[in-house]
Symmetry: C2
Subunit: 513 residues, 2 copies
C-alpha cells in the first residue's frame, strides 16, 4: 500500500465520504487509490473554487467534513476564496493539496511555490507530510483538526513521493475535541441581564440558529421579552412557518445601528460582536450602541446549546412556549423584482428545501419574504468572498440528495464560479438556480455613495455595468449541460419556477430584472 | 486630492496606461479617480484571474507593466494563479489590492484576512500603504519594483482610508534598476566552451528569444555549430519564416533527456538550468546529462543581449549569417487532429500575429507546425498554472490592437478563466480562440502512467473525462457575447478559421477532436 492509498483508507475509515476534487499530475496516486478503496465519492469540479465551496456546502448540511483534492500552490490559490467563506461559516473541511516530490522542490520547477505559505492565511491547521509512512497519521490528524469545534479548515499537503512511497496502512481517527462547557459565571451574567428589565438582545449564530438551540432561544425570548437577532450572514438557519422567527441584522450600517439602537445588553450566543462589513467614512465599525454592555453567553466554539439549556433552566423557561412564525401567504404577482420573485418562491417552496442565497442586493427581499414559507434551511455567504452560491448549492445537494436545493444567485457573483453548473449536471444534482440578472454589480453602485465617492463619472460607473454585452445565462447554463429558461415577466417566472422545482436535476432560471 | 487619486496620477505619470480591474467596495475611490485623471484605461474582468492573466499578457507584448485592481484577500487569492504565471514569465505587474480601512482591521469583519500573507508567496515585492500621504510614493516604488529586471510582480496594498484620506499629489517614478552587465569571466568561459570542439548548447530564455538577441544567438550558432534550444515554456518567442529557428526543449522527461543527450557544455542564456516539470519515480529531476558542464552566460536578470553581443565579438561572429527558418508550406487537410489544425493555422496565420498557446497535449503539434509560418510571436504558459490562455490573449490584444491574436486553447484549462471571453467582447478585442475540445484532461491520462499509477480503475479515469456532459463551447461563448462556430471536420475548421481571422472582434471556434 502506498501513502495515497493509506490516506484514502484513513478518510473512509473516519467517515469522510466525499472528496471534491480538481486533481493534477501530483495527485494521480490519490485518484488511482479511489478505485481500490471505495467508500469515498469523488466529485470533479472544473475549477478549484467549485471544490472548496462545495466542501463548505457539504459540511453545512452533513455536519461533517468532506475532503478536497487540489493541485499544488496555484490550484490551492484558486480554492482560497471559498476556503475563506468556509472558515467564516465554521465549516469543517479536510483540504488536501498535492505538492512536488520532496526531492524535486530544490529544482524550482515552474509549478513550485511555497504551498504552506499559500495555505496559511485561510487555514486553521497546516501540515506537510514528510513521507509515505506519515501520510495516514497526518491525514487522521487533519480530519480531527477539521472537526474540532466550531469547525475548521485543516490543510494537509501531500508531496508526490509521500503519495507513491510505501505506507503501513490507514490510521485511526484520534480523539476529536468536543465543545467546551460554558462557565457558570457566563450563565449567571446572562441571567442577570435578562432579569434586569432593560432592553436585551440575544445575538445568535451557529448552533443557536438550528434546533434545538433555536427553540431554547425562543423560550427564553418569550419568557423575558429579549429580542432575538441573528448575525447578518450565517452558515445555516432553520426557519419558516412554525419555527421561532429570528430577524437578521441588516447589512447597511445605518439600518444595523437602528436595529440595535436602545439595546442595553447584548448576549453573544454562538456569535461574535456585530461589526460593520466595511468601514465607511464617519460611520462606526462597531454596530452595538456605545453604552450597550456586551456579554458572551457562549463563544462560537463553546457548547452553545448547553448554555441555552442552562440559561432556560435558570429562567425557568424550559416549558415556556416560544413565539412561532406564522404562515404568510402573500399573493405573488406584479412586475419583475427581487421582491416579487421572493413572494413567488415563498408560495411554492417545497417542504424542507435548502435555500442557498447569494443574492446581495436582492437578499433583503428574500430574507423577508421567505420567513413565513414552509420550513427550510437558509444558507448564506459568510465571508463576503463572492462566488460561493453555485458551489455551496452543489455541495449541499451532494450532502442531502433527498432535499430540493434552491440557489438564489446574483449575476455578478455567479460568474466567479460559474463552472459549478457543470458539476451539477454531471452529478444530476437537484438544484434550481435563480439568477437575479440585473446586468450590474448593483451593490457597488450603492457602495460608491456609501464610501463618499460621490463625484464618480462615466468610467467609474462603467466598472459596475455588466450590460455590454449582457450575459446570456440560458446559453451559459446549456453550455454546461444544465437545462435553463428565461423569465422576463412574473408569469414566465412562475412557469419557470414550476419547471425548475418539478425537475429532479439541475435547472437554471435567468430572471431578467 | 485623496490617496486614490494621487495613486492614479502616479500610475499615469509613470506611463502605466492600463488597469485590469475587478474592484469592490474598498476600491471605489480608486475607481472614482479614473474619471478625474484620465490616461489610465480601466478594463473590467468578471473574475480576478482574468485581470492578473491579462496584466501578464499586456506586459509580455507592451514591455511595460499594467496595473491590476483587486478586492481584499479573497479577491487577491483569485488572482494568484495567474500572478504565479506572470512571475515565471518575468512579467512586470503592478498588483494593486484594496484592504479594509486600517482602523477597521481589529474588528475582524467577515472579509478580513492577512492580505500581505496572501500576497507574499506570489509577489517579489509587497507593501501596505500607511496613510493617504504615503500612497503616491508607495505606488511609484511599486512601479519601479515591477520594472526592475527581469520583471517582477509588485503588490501594493491600499487600505480604504489611505484611499480616501488627503494626499499631497502624485509622486515621480524613482530610478529604475537596469540589467546588470555580465562579468567578462562569464563571456570568456562561454567562449572557451564554444571553441572546445565539444557538443555545446545555448539554452535560451527571455530576451535571447527575441530580436536582437535571437539573431545574435543565430550568428554564434552558425559560427560555432552550437545548438540553440529554448526553454520548454517561454513568455514570448519571436519565430517563423526567415527568423532564426529555435527548438523548444520537450515537456516529457524522456524526450527532453534525449534532446540534451551528449551535450558537454550547456550555456544558460537568459534561462535557468533545465529541470523536469514534475518528478516521476525513477526519472531524474535535472534534464542535462550528469557529465554536462553548465555555465551561466547571462542570468535572466542580467543584460542577456549585451552578453550575446560580447560573445559574438569574441567569436568574431558579428557578421556571420545565421540559419534562417525556411517557409514551410505543408498541405493542410486530413481528419480532425491538433496536427491538422496546426497545419491549417500555419497556412493562414496573418503576418505579425500573436499566438497564445495553452494547448497542453496539442502543444507539440502547434509548436512544430507553425515554426515555418509567417513571422509571429508565440506566448506560452510559463508557470504551469492552467487557465492563463484566455486572459493572456485578452491582455496581449489590449497591448497591441494593431495585431491579430490567435489563442490555441485546451478545453479543460479554458474553463478556469472562461470569464475572459466577456472582457474580449466588451472591449471588442481582436482575438480568435480555437478551443481544442477533446472533452478530457488528456494530459492527466498520460501523467497517470508516467507517475506509475497504472493500476487506476474506472473512478480514476472518470476524473479525467469531461464528456458527461460535454461542454458546448459555442453556447458558452455566445453566453458571454462572443461570436462562435463549431468545426467537426477540417473543411469546417478552414471555414471557421477564415471567419475568425476575418473578424475584427473576438471569435471562438469549438474544434471537436
Amino acid at each position: 500500500m502506498n501513502g495515497a492509498e493509506s490516506l484514502v483508507r484513513t478518510l473512509s475509515g473516519a467517515g469522510v465520504e466525499v472528496c471534491f476534487a480538481n486533481p493534477g499530475t501530483s495527485e494521480m496516486h490519490f485518484v488511482a487509490a479511489l478505485d481500490r478503496v471505495g467508500g469515498v465519492r469523488c466529485v470533479l469540479g472544473l475549477f478549484e473554487g467549485v471544490a472548496t465551496g462545495a466542501a463548505d456546502g457539504y459540511a453545512r448540511m452533513a455536519d461533517k467534513p468532506a475532503s478536497t483534492l487540489l493541485h499544488l500552490g496555484p490550484g490551492l490559490a484558486n480554492g482560497l476564496a471559498n476556503l475563506h467563506n468556509a472558515r467564516r461559516a465554521r465549516s469543517p473541511v479536510v483540504n488536501i493539496v498535492g505538492d512536488h516530490a520532496t526531492y524535486h522542490k530544490e529544482f524550482d520547477a515552474p509549478l513550485t511555490s511555497d504551498v504552506e505559505g499559500v495555505a496559511r492565511p485561510f487555514s486553521d491547521w497546516v501540515l506537510t507530510s514528510r513521507d509515505g509512512r506519515s501520510v495516514a497519521r497526518d491525514g487522521a490528524a487533519a480530519i480531527a483538526a477539521a472537526m474540532a469545534p466550531p469547525g475548521r479548515v485543516a490543510t494537509l499537503i501531500l508531496p508526490a513521493d509521500a503519495s507513491w512511497d510505501a505506507a503501513d496502512g490507514p490510521a485511526p481517527l484520534p480523539p476529536v475535541e468536543t465543545r467546551a462547557e460554558v462557565a457558570p459565571e457566563a450563565i449567571a451574567e446572562a441571567t442577570r441581564a435578562l432579569r434586569s428589565g432593560k432592553s436585551t438582545v440575544l445575538f445568535l449564530g451557529g448552533p443557536a440558529l438550528r434546533e434545538p438551540g433555536l427553540t431554547l432561544a425562543g423560550r427564553i425570548s418569550a419568557k423575558t421579552g429579549a429580542r432575538l437577532i441573528a448575525q447578518t450572514h450565517n452558515a445555516r438557519v432553520e426557519r419558516g412557518a412554525g419555527r421561532v422567527p429570528v430577524g437578521f441584522l441588516p447589512y447597511p450600517v445605518d439600518a444595523a445601528l437602528k436595529t440595535l439602537a436602545g439595546t442595553d445588553h447584548l448576549l453573544l450566543t454562538g456569535a461574535k460582536a456585530p461589526v460593520a462589513f466595511f468601514a465607511y467614512p464617519d460611520k462606526p465599525s462597531a454596530l452595538s450602541p456605545p453604552e450597550c454592555e456586551i456579554h458572551t453567553l457562549a463563544a462560537p466554539e463553546e457548547d452553545v446549546v448547553r448554555a441555552l439549556e442552562a440559561l432556560a433552566d435558570e429562567l425557568d423557561a424550559r416549558e415556556t412556549a416560544p413565539v412561532q412564525q406564522p404562515d404568510i401567504a402573500s399573493p405573488p404577482g406584479g412586475t419583475v423584482s427581487p421582491d416579487a420573485a421572493a413572494l413567488a418562491l415563498a408560495a411554492s417552496l417545497p417542504e424542507n428545501a435548502i435555500v442557498v442565497e447569494e443574492a446581495l442586493t436582492g437578499a433583503p427581499a428574500f430574507m423577508s419574504r421567505t420567513r413565513g414559507a414552509t420550513p427550510h434551511d437558509y444558507l448564506q455567504i459568510t465571508g463576503g468572498a463572492i462566488g460561493i452560491g453555485p458551489p455551496l448549492a452543489t455541495g449541499a445537494a451532494v450532502a442531502r440528495p433527498d432535499r430540493k436545493v434552491v440557489c438564489l444567485q446574483a449575476d455578478g457573483s455567479a460568474m466567479y464560479t460559474v463552472q459549478a453548473l457543470w458539476t451539477q449536471a454531471r452529478e444530476s444534482l437537484d438544484v434550481t438556480t435563480v439568477v437575479l440578472n440585473n446586468r450590474s454589480y448593483a451593490i457597488l453602485k450603492a457602495e460608491l455613495a456609501n464610501v463618499g465617492a460621490n463625484n464618480a463619472g462615466r468610467t467609474a460607473h462603467a466598472m459596475m455595468e455588466l450590460d455590454r454585452p449582457a450575459l446570456d445565462w440560458v446559453s451559459l447554463a446549456r453550455g454546461m449541460g444544465v437545462e435553463a429558461g428565461r423569465a422576463a415577466t412574473m408569469e414566465e417566472f412562475d412557469r419557470q419556477l414550476d419547471a425548475g422545482l418539478r425537475s429532479e436535476g439541475p435547472y437554471l432560471i435567468d430572471l431578467v430584472l
